[in-house]
């Protein structure tokens, strides 16, 4: 029995796009990543056990896709046409309060793994165990990463903003 991909898309797409936006900043790139993740799920629809496993699979795909997107941008920055790297959107620049903009700017200075853990914990409200499963790391790694990421975030907020 295969999972109903269209139903999962309807139920989870918006939440996952928001998660991806918090990691890659650009709504368009976030939609890219999420749709690619669902395309990947469609490929595996016959082998995924149930809806819960399918959601976990898509979430992992989104996290991996965001990581790949950030990696691609680092490569693009090395090319002679750096303007192609998207920054914060106009909506973020104009519609958010200063405090939120500063926080998001500070988050962009953190390593990808730190951003993933923080977003999963404080936006998705996942348990540390679920975060460990999503990122394919140990529970201890999640706890230590989260703790260090918060320390770095506070430091960046104090030093740079």
């Amino acid at each position: 029995m295969s999972v109903d991909v269209s139903e999962l898309y309807r139920l989870h797409r918006a939440k996952l796009v928001r998660l991806a936006v918090l990691l890659v900043d650009s709504v368009e790139n976030a939609e890219d990543v999420v749709n690619e993740a669902f395309v990947g799920l469609y490929r595996k629809r016959e082998t995924v056990a149930d809806g819960t496993a399918a959601v976990a699979y898509v979430r992992r795909s989104v996290l991996n896709g965001c990581r790949d997107e950030l990696r691609r941008r680092r490569l693009v920055r090395l090319r002679p046409y750096p303007a192609a790297v998207p920054g914060p959107g106009a909506d973020e620049m104009t519609l958010l309060r200063d405090e939120h903009r500063e926080t998001l700017a500070a988050l962009r200075r953190l390593p990808t793994r730190d951003r993933q853990v923080l977003a999963l914990r404080y936006w998705m409200d996942l348990s540390d165990r679920d975060i460990a499963e999503a990122l394919n790391v140990s529970l201890g790694t999640v706890k230590s990463t989260a703790s260090r990421a918060l320390d770095k975030l506070e430091l960046v907020l104090q030093e740079h903003l």
Binding site: R10, R13, A14, Y42, M93, E99, T103, L107, L118
Partner: protein
């Protein structure tokens, strides 16, 4: 800051950022009939094939129900639906602003460049390029005949267009990154005030629709009439003989044309309160927004300029002078400097080679030229040219891919230092 305080701040920032993501943004997946995974499309209705694609499209439609009422597809052209219906064309949401311009750059001899970076995504980048070498990507626009139509006198807004049969007109606010998009059959749009808050459209016969495909009230006048968009809305236009009365909310403007019969096309903002119109190719009139009588700026019935004027590009370079390029593309691209106060027009000799003038600073004599094989489309580099000295200064290049091309350009601000 305590850990709890930091966590609270982090949650609030996440929630605020996530709230900006519109649930109704329509997307769909594209799965081809041979069961392989291909490409997805951000815009619906484009190439949905296969049963799952249809199901996913239904899901996407449900998410965007507030925007899409009829659920049908619309061809990439002017909407033929009734005003009560809304639809989204495949490319209606294609333009997107990405960031605003640091206001300090506005005084740094900026050029706007529309550049196709050579990728296969079919989009072109709108870049602000300073003489000091700084670049900011302001927006992405479909790689479909994109053009910079006008730049407001105060430098804060730019008028862009893309498309051919159905032309998308986009006002991009450089200060805050906001954009407003309309579709019309008329591409001759220019700003009608120094701040870019009003757009004058030339004689238009088509319906004007907003970026969601809905007809705009007041849009779509009979052929040969003038239309104005005031602060993003089409004003109602009442024609009284040769005078157009433009009402937008509580604001009323009156524009008196030189004749009730001749078609006039807006060319550029001329003064703080007038727009330069070309009427019947040979005459240029300054039409005051106050409703005062129009003033003849330049009459070329003596054929001082040679060549077809239909596709002219015009740049004001002084209080009483403008540059005019008579043809858009092709081998002959004569450039004339027109001195209004002397009723004089002299041809400007541009550098020998595959050059075309694509812009001029509004404060001096420096002309932006494109090194290309035909017109500015498919140019591979832009340079500033100082006609007094003959010096060329490289501004931006687009090498790196066979498809890399500079598609349009415009300049603003201080002359070359």
């Amino acid at each position: 800051m305590s850990k709890e305080g930091l966590e609270t701040r982090l949650r609030a920032a996440y929630q605020a950022r996530a709230a900006l993501v519109d649930d109704d943004r329509p997307t769909s997946l594209d799965l081809s009939a041979d069961h392989g995974v291909r490409r997805w499309h951000r815009h619906p209705y484009t190439r949905l094939v296969g049963p799952l694609a249809a199901a996913l499209a239904v899901g996407a439609l449900a998410l965007s129900a507030s925007l899409i009422h009829d659920g049908g597809s619309s061809p990439a052209g002017r909407s033929t639906r009734s005003p009560q219906q809304k639809t989204i064309s495949p490319d209606a949401l294609a333009f997107r602003a990405t960031s605003s311009l640091p206001t300090g750059m506005l005084t740094d001899g900026l050029s706007l460049v529309v550049l196709a970076p050579g990728s296969s995504v079919g989009t072109a980048d709108v870049l602000a390029v300073s003489m000091a070498g700084g670049r900011v990507m302001l927006a992405q626009i479909p790689d479909n005949h994109p053009e910079i139509l006008d730049w407001a006198v105060d430098g804060t807004r730019v008028l862009l267009s893309y498309g051919t049969a159905s032309v998308h007109i986009v006002t991009l606010d450089l200060v805050n990154g906001h954009s407003v998009e309309f579709r019309t059959s008329e591409a001759a749009a220019r700003f009608a005030d120094p701040h870019g808050q009003t757009i004058s459209l030339g004689a238009s016969s088509g319906q004007i629709v907003d970026d969601a495909g809905a007809p705009i009230v007041g849009g779509g006048q009979p052929p040969g009439t003038l239309q104005l968009l005031v602060n993003g809305h089409v004003a109602s236009v009442l024609k009284r003989g040769s005078t157009y009365e433009v009402v937008s909310g509580s604001q009323t403007m009156r524009l008196r044309m030189p004749t009730a019969r001749r078609g006039c096309t807006p060319m550029a903002s001329w003064t703080d309160n007038s727009v330069l119109f070309r009427c019947a190719d040979q005459q240029y009139w300054a039409i005051p927004l106050s409703g005062a009588a129009p003033g003849l700026v330049f009459d070329d019935t003596a054929a001082l300029r040679h060549g077809a004027a239909a596709a002219a590009h015009l740049w004001k370079v002084g209080s009483d002078e403008f540059l005019e390029r008579l043809t858009s593309c092709g081998v002959e691209r004569p450039l004339y400097r027109v001195a209004v106060n002397r009723s004089d027009a002299t041809e400007v000799k541009i550098p020998v080679g595959p050059y075309a003038v694509v812009g001029a600073t509004n404060s001096g004599f420096y002309i932006l030229v494109g090194f290309n094989g035909g017109c500015e489309a498919n140019a591979t580099a832009l340079d500033f040219w100082a006609p007094q000295t003959g010096a060329l200064k490289p501004l931006i290049g687009a090498a790196g891919s066979a498809r890399s091309a500079i598609l349009s350009a415009s300049t603003f601000g201080l002359p070359v230092r």
